[in-house]
Amino acid sequence: MKRGMSRRRFMTSVGAGVTTAAAVAAAPRVARGSPVAEAGRRVDLVLQVNGSRRRIAVEPRTTLIEAIRDGLGLTGTKPGCERGECGACTVLIDGRPRYACMMLALEAEGAEVTTVEGLMRGEALGAVQQAFVEHDAFQCGYCTSGQVMAVEGLLRQHADPSLEQIRQGLAGNLCRCGAYAHIFAAAKKAATLKGTGR
């Protein structure tokens, strides 16, 4: 495998969430820059978020991250670039990691959306969150909810991922603080906590 190419390759091929997102990438941005965008027209939408039905009114051009943060007040999901390049906004759509900035809110209708707030088990931390705390898998914490969601999504697909699978699964989640090694350790630990890993 050639390193140094990972970003470009990631953008075109890797990551369950990103392959289809590429197709909608341009949508919100074109609308934003365009004076003919249907600004102001709102449509009612029901989103299934963290296990509950939430009704919200959005513009057709509203992205999922905007709907989650501004509409529902769930600010755990972070914007880092809003163009599908950093992974800070990663959420689960039907259990799979997706960039919430690369999806329209309307597209998420009918799907189960999980954000970092949805991983709590009541007052207790979810397994991945617990593992992140134990392994100090963050510094500034800004990429963290995205990393946590990416790991959660990974573990739902691979109960006991190898280091290489973890590396690949998280290749679309940038951490400028460079906490990667700790994140890998946390992912391993989370698999154990979930009882799915060894």
Binding site: G4, T75, Q139
Partner: protein
């Protein structure tokens, strides 16, 4: 009772040196931590900035080509105080007034209650362009010039058997904190409160007082949870806070400004590019007899922190080596590009890249291996540096060099790799901890401890930016006071509640602010006379103790001559990098970096390792992929798809080893760690490429540069 107290004490004293849980850990993993863009207030307006599209010229006219109903508009004319971003010099306007000096310079500010309306803003500006200066070597304007001299260069070169020369270049580097710059300004009470993602609350405070012509007590700055800084939120937030405050005061409403990624990359500061020339005299057996270094830094359009970046760069330019005859001369000059500013390492990564690649070249010419040539010259206890600073009895570079060579089996490994596409390189380096020269004396940092019902509250404006300040400072206090770590409260940095404990920069927080807190805690402990905080509170109510920095005895610094103790102490480290080279594509894959570091006593082993790993990862990007393409003074690749920072796939395995040699004037013996790892990764990787026959003398070592070097080799 007595027994219980004793148990407490043992538990507490176990805190320093142990990996306690981060104070901010729970909030960060649950998404509860509030960063600037998570805050909303009733009546909130959103601000945006209209910027120059040319790199130099006069502004002829400004036209607003949109419906301005509901907009608040601010130009230079609306500034109540001085139109400057107050830092070292008063040369940078908050808003351009008649002329612009770089692409991205702020000209006009707009705010509206509806975010979406900001997207429809159309402003056209007519300029009378002037010819920009983009090459530092052609700049007629010098911001600062410094010379460090020791011994007699003529004599040193006369003693040399060989003179080795070389020129080395480093480019811009973008901080790329994942949270962009952002602030929220709230007017009220004839003053302003600014919440923001920032490193230095009092820098922003001072800048706001000048810009708005407000007395100190009418300005309040509060740090919100900050999504990475790396120096990028040291000087720049003063600019952005000023803008939001101007809009807030004019509109009478709270104003939030958060940059989008492209804007943050285009308009905010970067690491200074450098050109470094070495001329070194050396004896046949490898001893340095003369070092002559010339440094040129590209400062960008305004002074910002350039003089101090130059100073630190020059003080690190020789690398950690002994030599009797030294001259280091440097200038930082103006170009019509966005101002460069603080970035982890602060001039030292640039000059130590040059020093360490040069050191390998000296070894090659003498037939000495990289360890030998460094061993001959590494600073030892009792040696003096270029400024005359003497190395402490437990200091010097030799120890980390030997440990790194041993741990990596450097020589055997290098032999084993011969003839393969894998190379091994080393870099020996150091980093001065704390402010340069008399900087700490001038800062006069303060720290406060207040007794609470069950413990203490820490009053500092040292900021948590991911490095773990909150946790480490609490560990220090808990240990010195003998109370549980959980009973130490760490409120957010707020200029209305805590004294100025200096900026959170220069790897100074643990060492300097931590030390003040350690002393304050010891004082408080004496005043408790054996009572627990709770008992004392019940009997006597609140107590508070404030400590102010005083320099350790014996430190001297002559700012004019550049002679004396440049830093209170130095951290030392040695990196060994193994890389794999694809000779067809020029792509370099770093496989493993071993980093042996002396950062004094380690307060929190896991987070300290995290600092070393994170800094090293940034150094890997600096070494290989992070290239800012400036076209006519504009960053042409202001996005993450073509400005490439290391991903999980590009970051090598990083093996960190600490050699703990305590520093007597640091908190519990600690020195600084934050910047150190940024200095070594790039030269270690480039030296690994040298061992593969690629004579690379500039970073980033992009595939193009590597192929070019191979074809010449």
């Amino acid at each position: 009772m007595k027994g219980a107290r004793k148990a407490h004490a043992t538990r507490a004293t176990a805190v320093v040196g142990h990996p306690v849980r981060r104070k901010d850990g729970l909030d960060k993993v649950t998404g509860a931590a509030r960063y600037i863009d998570d805050l909303v207030l009733p009546g909130l307006l959103y601000g945006t900035t209209i910027r120059s599209t040319i790199s130099r010229g006069e502004i002829a006219s400004v036209h607003l080509d949109f419906d301005t109903t509901g907009f608040t508009i601010v130009s230079a004319r609306d500034i109540p105080g001085k139109n400057v971003v107050s830092l070292i010099e008063a040369d940078q306007p908050s808003l351009a007034d008649g002329r612009v000096e770089h692409v991205g310079e702020a000209i006009l500010l707009l705010a509206h209650a509806d975010k979406e309306r900001l997207l429809d803003v159309r402003v056209s500006i007519d300029y009378r362009p002037a010819a920009p200066v983009v090459e530092p070597e052609l700049s007629p304007t010098t911001f600062k010039e410094i010379t460090i001299a020791k011994g007699d260069l003529g004599r040193g070169f006369a003693e040399a058997d060989l003179v080795v020369e070389g020129e080395y270049r480093t480019g811009h580097q973008e901080h790329l904190y994942i949270e962009t710059n952002g602030v929220l300004a709230v007017p009220g009470d004839g003053g302003i409160t600014v919440h923001g993602s920032l490193q230095c609350p009092y820098y922003v405070h001072r800048a706001l007082c000048e810009l708005l012509s407000l007395p100190e007590r009418k300005v309040r700055v509060i740090q919100t949870e900050t999504g990475g800084g790396f120096g990028g939120k040291e000087d720049y937030p003063s600019v952005l806070a000023g803008h939001a405050a101007l809009l807030a005061l004019k509109s009478g409403r709270p104003v939030k400004m958060v940059y989008d990624r492209a804007e943050d990359m285009l308009a905010t500061t970067k690491r200074h590019p450098a050109i470094v020339r070495h001329r070194t005299g050396v004896t046949r057996d490898g001893h340095l007899t003369a070092i002559d270094i010339e440094v040129l830094l590209d400062g960008g359009a305004y002074v910002t922190l350039s003089p101090v970046v130059l100073s630190r760069g020059l003080l690190h330019a020789t690398g950690p080596y002994r030599c009797d005859h030294v001259r280091v001369h440097g200038r930082v000059v103006k170009t019509n590009t966005p101002p460069n500013g603080a970035f982890r390492g602060f001039g030292a990564p640039q000059t130590q890249f040059a020093a360490e690649v040069h050191m390998d070249r000296i070894g090659e010419q003498l037939g000495l291996d990289p360890i030998q040539v460094r061993e001959r010259n590494a600073l030892r206890p009792g040696d003096t540096m270029a400024t005359g600073q003497r190395i402490e009895a437990n200091g010097g570079a030799l120890r980390v060099l030997r440990e790194a060579a041993r741990r990596t089996r450097f020589r055997q490994r290098r032999r084993a790799l011969r003839g393969t596409d894998r190379g091994l390189g080393v870099a020996l380096f150091f980093h001065g901890a704390g402010f340069t020269g008399s900087g700490e004396v001038k800062l006069r940092s303060k720290a406060t401890l207040e007794l609470t019902r069950r413990g203490v509250r820490v009053g500092v404006t040292a900021t948590e930016i991911g490095q773990g300040a909150r946790t480490v400072l609490a560990q220090i206090v808990a240990t010195a006071l003998g109370i549980p770590y959980e009973h130490v409260e760490m409120p957010p940095a707020d200029t209305s509640l805590a004294p100025d404990s200096g900026p959170t920069v220069a790897s100074r927080t643990t060492m300097i602010v931590g030390r003040l807190l350690e002393l304050a805690a010891r004082d408080l402990k004496r005043r408790l006379r054996g009572r627990t905080p709770a008992e004392s509170w019940r009997a006597h109510g609140p107590i508070s103790v404030t400590k102010e920095y005083t320099p350790p005895p014996g430190l001297t610094w002559d700012e004019e001559q550049y002679v004396g103790d440049a830093y209170g102490t130095w951290a030392w480290a040695c990196d060994v990098a193994e890389v794999e080279l694809d000779r067809d594509t020029g792509i370099v894959r770093p496989l493993r970096i071993t980093s042996v570091a002396d950062i004094g006593r380690v307060i929190h082993p896991v987070m300290a390792r995290g600092q070393m790993e994170g800094g090293t990862a940034q150094a890997v990007g600096y070494a290989l992929t992070e290239e800012v393409v400036m076209r006519d003074g504009r960053m042409a690749n202001a996005q993450l798809t073509n400005y490439l920072i290391p991903t999980t796939a590009d970051t090598p395995e990083i093996d960190v080893v600490f050699v703990e040699r305590p520093y007597r004037n640091g908190a519990f013996g600690a020195k600084g760690v934050g910047e150190l790892p940024m200095d070594g990764g790039a030269p270690a990787i480039v030296n690994a490429l040298r061992s593969l026959g690629a004579d690379v003398r500039a970073v980033p070592a992009t595939p193009e540069r590597v192929l070019d070097a191979l074809s010449k080799g």
